[in-house]
C-alpha cells in the first residue's frame, strides 16, 4: 500500500517536499538578515560620524595639528614654502603611487595638507615631521612619506589618503 500510494502521486509528494524545503530556506535566509545587519554601525555611531569643522587660524606655518574624525586621526599640516617646493619638484613617475601634489591639496590653499594619518601598510599612525622626506615617518615598519603625504620608501603600498574636505572660509575647513 505504501508503494502504491506514493507511486500514484509522486509529483504531489515531491512538490510538497520541495515547497516546504524552499520555504524553510527562504525563511532561514530572511531570518539571518537581522542577525548579520546588527553588526553594522548603529545609528548613534553613524550620527557621530557627521562632518566636523576645524579652525585653521591658530595653526602657524610649519606646524601640524591632529584632529579626529570617525575615529581616525587627520593630520592638518601648514606647509612651509620649502615643503611645497620639495613636494612639487619630485618626478611623479618615480613614485610608488604616482600622484601630483596639486591633486592632493585644494588649489589656492597649497599650504594646507590634509591627510588621514594612518599608514597604508598595516594601519599604524605615522609621526609628522619625521623621516628623510620632510613628511611623515611610520616607526612600526619604516615607511617614509614626503611632505605631500606620498609614500617614498618602505613597505607601504599607497599614499596617505586625503579625506573628503572643503574650505568653508579661508581659515576654516569642514571634514566629511
Amino acid at each position: 500500500m505504501t508503494t502504491a500510494s506514493s507511486a500514484d502521486h509522486p509529483t504531489r509528494r515531491d512538490f510538497l517536499f520541495v515547497a516546504t524545503g524552499a520555504a524553510a530556506a527562504v525563511g532561514g535566509a530572511a531570518a539571518l538578515w537581522p542577525f548579520i545587519s546588527q553588526m553594522n554601525p548603529d545609528a548613534s555611531t553613524i550620527a557621530a560620524g557627521a562632518p566636523i569643522e576645524v579652525d585653521l587660524s591658530p595653526v602657524a606655518e610649519g606646524q601640524d595639528i591632529k584632529v579626529f574624525w570617525r575615529g581616525k586621526p587627520i593630520y592638518i599640516s601648514h606647509r612651509t614654502k620649502k615643503q611645497i617646493d620639495e613636494a612639487r619638484a619630485v618626478n611623479v613617475a618615480s613614485l610608488p603611487d604616482p600622484q601630483t601634489d596639486e591633486a592632493r591639496v585644494k588649489s589656492g590653499h597649497e599650504q594646507w595638507l590634509v591627510v588621514i594619518g594612518i599608514c597604508t601598510h598595516l594601519g599604524c599612525i605615522p609621526i609628522a615631521h619625521e623621516g628623510s622626506y620632510d613628511g611623515f615617518f611610520c616607526p612600526c615598519h619604516g615607511s617614509q612619506y614626503d611632505s605631500s603625504g606620498r609614500i617614498r620608501q618602505g613597505p607601504a603600498p599607497a599614499n596617505l589618503p586625503v579625506p573628503p574636505y572643503q574650505f568653508v572660509s579661508d581659515t576654516k575647513i569642514q571634514i566629511g
Binding site: T20, A23, P34, Q38
Partner: protein, 690 residues
C-alpha cells in the same frame, strides 16, 4: 536502542572521518535511524521546541552581549540604545526577552507532559533528574538575565532573591555579602550576574546533551506508557519525528512571533522601564510570571528560613518523584484516579501562580497556605497513596495495538485542548503582575490611539504637535534623554526632514568639552545630540521641584501601568491591548481638580489628581487651555494637548513601533504559509506508516 551503529557512509571523506571520530554515526543513530514510538502525540514535540528555544536564546544572547554594557551606570541606557540605535536591536531584544518566557512556557508543558504520562518512571529516573537540573539552571539563568537591564524590578528582584540566602542560620549575612560582592546589590553584583548569565546557558546545553543521551539509552516514553516491543511499534526518527517536530516548532513560532511583534511588553513588568533606584522600592516586588508559584509558596510560610526551604523544596521534590509514585502503570491515561488528581495539581499550580502576583494580604495569604499544602500533599501523600489503592485500567499489549484501537475514536484532543487552555490560563495569570495596583485612584479611561492594533501607525500631526507641547511645557522640568535630535528625522517619527531636525537641534544649547584649553563650553545642538535634561543632576531636579525628581519622559508610557483585572487581561492578549501606559499618562494630565473633594486631605505642596495613585501629585497642573498655539488648526485645549503629547511620548518610548508592526505582519504571513506546508508534508510522511 543504542546498539552499535550500522551507519555506513558512502562518501570516502565521511568514511575517513567515521573511522577516526564516529560523530556522523552518532548523529545518524540519534536523529535519523533512532526508533521513535509511533503513537507520540504533539506533547512530545515540546522537546524539539525547547531545543529550538535554547538555541534561539544563546544566539540572540550572544548578539545582545555585543551591544550591552554591564555597568551599573550604563546598563539601563545601553539596553535602551540597543532598542533604538542598533540595526534590528528592537527585534533581537524582543526575541531574547520574550524568548525567556516562551522557553518557560515550553518547559512547563514538557514537565506536565512528563508528569501526566509517567515519563519519570523506571527506567527513566536519571533522565528525569537531569531534567530537574536543567530546570534549576534555567531558573538561575532567567533570574540573572532579568537583572541585567538594571531597571527597578531588576534591582529589587535581585535584592529580594539574594536576601533569601540570609535565611541560612549563622552564616546567612556573610553569604549574602559574598553574593553581592559589596554591602548591597551594586556594580559587582551586576558584573558577576552578567558573567554567569553568559556561562549558564552553555552548562544547560551540556546537561541537555546528557538528557538526550539518557533518553536515547532508555528510549522515549509514549502516551500509552508501554515500552516498544517489535519493529511495528516504532518509526524511524527521520523523517517521521523530524517533520512532526518541525511542524510543532513552526506552530510554536506563531505564538512566539505574536509576543515579539505585537505584545513585546505584555509579559514583563512596567516598573522595569524605570532605571534602578536603590532609594525607592516599587510598591509590589514580583518576579517574572514563570517563578510566581514558587514565590507564592515562599510567602505562604510565616517563617523566613522555613519559607526559603519550602520554596526550594518545591522544586527539589521533583527529583524524588520516581520513588514517590510507585505505580506500575506509567500513563495516567489508564489511571482514572491519578488523572483526576493530576488536573487538580495543574489547577493548584496555576492558582499558586495567580497568588504570587497578588499583594500578600487578607484572603490571599490564607489561600496561599492552603494551596502550598495541596502542592506538597500531591507529591508526599496523593501519589504514594494512589500507587497502593488505585486499580488502573488494563494497558494495551503493545503500541501498535494501542494505535489500532484508537483509529476511529478521537478523544485525545479534548485532553490536549484542556492542557493548552490551562497553560494559556497560567500565562495570563502571570501577566497580572504587570497590572500595577493603583490604590484608591480612578481607572484611566481608554482612548483611541492611532498606533494601537496590528497595523497601528503614529499620527504625524499629533507627533509634531506633541513635540511642541513637550518643548514649550514639559521640557522645563522633564528630560528626554534616550532620544536624539536625529531621531526626529527617522522613518516612523514626526516626519521631519534632516535639515529640520538639524535646525531644531541648533535651537538648543548643549554642554560640551573640555576643549583644548581644558574648559567646558556651550554650543548649539547637533543632530547627534540627545535631548538635554533641564537639570544638571537628580539633586538639582529635586531641589527645584519640592523634593520630587521629575522622571525622564522618554520611557514614561512604557513605565506606567495600572490594574486591568480579570477578565480584561485575557481580552488584552487577543486584542493586543498594550496601551495602559498612554491611557494613564493622558489621564493624569487631565485628572487635576482645583479643590480636593470633601473629606479628602492631601499633603501641603501637592495637588489633587484623580488618576494619580494616592491622589496627591507633586507636579502642579501643567496644561491649561490656550497655552500652546498649533499651526494646523487643532483645538488648543487641555484634552488635545494631553493626547498629542502622549502620542509623542509613546514614540519616544518606542521609536521603531511602526517597523515592528510592519515586519510582524510579514513574518505572520510567512509563518502561516510555512506551517501549512509543514502540515501537509507531515501528513504525507506519516500517511505511509498508518
Amino acid at each position: 536502542m543504542s546498539g552499535p551503529s550500522d551507519y555506513q557512509p558512502s562518501n570516502p571523506a565521511l568514511q575517513w572521518i567515521e573511522r577516526r571520530l564516529p560523530i556522523f554515526g552518532l548523529m545518524h543513530s540519534s536523529f535519523v535511524a533512532y526508533p521513535t514510538p509511533r503513537n507520540l502525540n504533539y506533547w512530545w514535540t515540546f522537546g524539539a521546541i525547547l531545543s529550538f528555544m535554547l538555541g534561539m536564546q544563546i544566539l540572540t544572547g550572544v548578539i545582545l552581549a555585543m551591544h550591552y554594557t554591564p555597568h551599573a551606570d550604563l546598563a539601563f541606557k545601553s539596553v535602551e540604545l540597543i532598542v533604538r540605535d542598533v540595526n534590528y536591536g528592537w527585534l533581537l531584544r524582543n526575541m531574547h526577552a520574550v524568548g525567556a518566557s516562551m522557553f518557560f512556557v515550553a518547559v512547563y508543558v514538557h514537565m506536565f507532559r512528563g508528569l501526566y504520562y509517567g515519563s519519570y518512571k523506571e527506567p527513566r529516573e536519571v533522565l528525569w533528574i537531569l531534567g530537574v537540573i536543567i530546570y534549576l539552571l534555567m531558573m538561575a539563568t532567567g533570574f540573572m538575565g532579568y537583572v541585567l537591564p538594571w531597571g527597578q524590578m531588576s534591582f529589587w528582584g535581585a535584592t529580594v532573591i539574594t536576601n533569601l540566602f540570609s535565611a541560612i542560620p549563622y552564616v546567612g549575612e556573610s553569604v549574602v555579602t559574598l553574593l553581592w560582592g559589596g554591602y548591597s546589590v551594586g556594580n559587582p553584583t551586576l558584573n558577576r550576574f552578567f558573567s554567569l548569565h553568559y556561562l549558564l546557558p552553555f552548562l544547560i546545553a551540556g546537561v541537555v546533551v546528557l538528557h538526550v543521551w539518557a533518553l536515547h539509552v532508555a528510549g522515549q516514553n509514549n502516551p500509552d506508557g508501554v515500552e516498544p516491543k517489535t519493529e511495528k511499534d516504532t518509526v524511524p526518527f527521520t523523517p517521521h519525528a523530524t517533520i512532526k517536530d518541525m511542524f510543532g516548532v513552526a506552530c510554536f513560532m506563531l505564538l512566539y512571533a505574536w509576543f515579539i511583534f505585537y505584545m513585546p511588553n505584555y509579559l514583563g513588568d512596567a516598573d522595569n522601564y524605570i532605571p534602578a533606584n536603590p532609594g525607592v522600592t516599587p510598591p509590589h516586588i514580583v518576579p517574572e510570571w514563570y517563578y510566581l508559584p514558587f514565590y507564592a509558596i515562599l510567602r505562604s510560610i510565616p517563617n523566613k528560613l522555613a519559607g526559603v526551604i519550602a520554596m526550594f523544596g518545591a522544586i527539589i521534590i521533583l527529583c524524588f518523584l520516581p520513588w514517590l509514585d510507585a505505580a506500575k502503570t506509567k500513563s495516567s491515561k489508564y489511571r482514572p484516579l491519578a488523572k483526576q488528581f493530576f488536573w487538580i495539581f495543574v489547577v493548584v499550580c496555576i492558582l499558586l501562580g495567580y497568588l504570587g502576583a497578588q499583594p500578600p494580604e487578607g484572603i490571599y495569604v490564607v489561600a496561599g497556605r492552603v494551596l502550598t499544602v495541596c502542592y506538597f500533599a500531591y507529591f508526599l501523600i496523593v501519589l504514594p497513596l494512589l500507587s497502593r489503592i488505585e486499580k488502573p485500567r488494563p494497558v494495551p499489549n503493545s503500541i501498535s495495538d494501542a494505535v489500532l484501537a484508537k483509529t476511529g475514536s478521537r478523544s485525545t484532543p479534548m485532553v490536549s485542548t484542556a492542557i493548552m487552555l490551562a497553560l494559556a490560563g497560567s500565562l495570563f495569570a502571570g501577566s497580572i503582575d504587570s497590572a500595577k495596583a493603583s490604590e484608591g485612584s480612578d481607572t484611566p479611561p481608554g482612548n483611541k490611539w492611532s498606533f494601537s492594533g496590528p497595523f497601528g501607525k503614529f499620527d504625524r500631526g499629533a507627533l509634531q504637535r506633541g513635540l511642541k507641547v513637550y518643548k514649550e511645557v514639559c521640557s522645563s522640568c522633564h528630560g528626554l534623554s534616550y532620544i536624539a535630535f536625529r531621531n526626529l528625522a527617522e522613518a516612523g517619527g514626526p516626519g521631519y526632514s534632516v535639515a529640520q531636525a538639524a535646525a531644531f537641534a541648533s535651537e538648543y544649547k548643549v554642554k560640551d568639552g573640555p576643549n583644548d584649553a581644558g574648559d567646558m563650553f556651550e554650543r548649539a545642538g547637533r543632530p547627534a545630540d540627545y535631548f538635554p535634561s533641564p537639570f544638571p543632576n537628580e539633586q538639582a531636579a529635586r531641589a527645584a521641584n519640592g523634593g520630587a525628581a521629575p522622571p525622564d519622559l522618554s520611557l514614561i508610557t512604557k513605565a506606567r501601568s495600572y490594574k486591568r483585572g480579570f477578565p480584561w487581561f485575557i481580552i488584552d492578549f487577543f486584542s493586543q491591548y498594550q496601551e495602559q501606559g498612554p491611557d494613564y499618562v493622558a489621564a493624569v494630565l487631565q485628572g487635576y481638580e482645583d479643590k480636593a473633594p470633601e473629606g479628602v486631605t492631601i499633603p501641603e505642596g501637592s495637588y489633587f489628581n484623580k488618576y494619580f495613585p494616592g491622589h496627591a501629585i507633586k507636579m502642579p497642573k501643567p496644561l491649561s487651555d490656550g497655552q500652546v498655539t498649533f499651526d494646523d488648526g487643532s483645538p488648543a485645549t487641555v484634552a488635545q494637548y494631553a493626547k498629542d503629547v502622549t502620542t509623542f511620548l509613546m514614540w519616544t518610548a518606542e521609536p521603531h513601533m511602526e517597523a515592528r508592526k510592519r515586519l510582524g505582519f510579514q513574518v505572520f504571513v510567512f509563518l502561516i504559509l510555512f506551517a501549512g506546508l509543514m502540515y501537509f508534508t507531515k501528513k504525507k510522511v506519516w500517511a505511509s506508516s498508518h
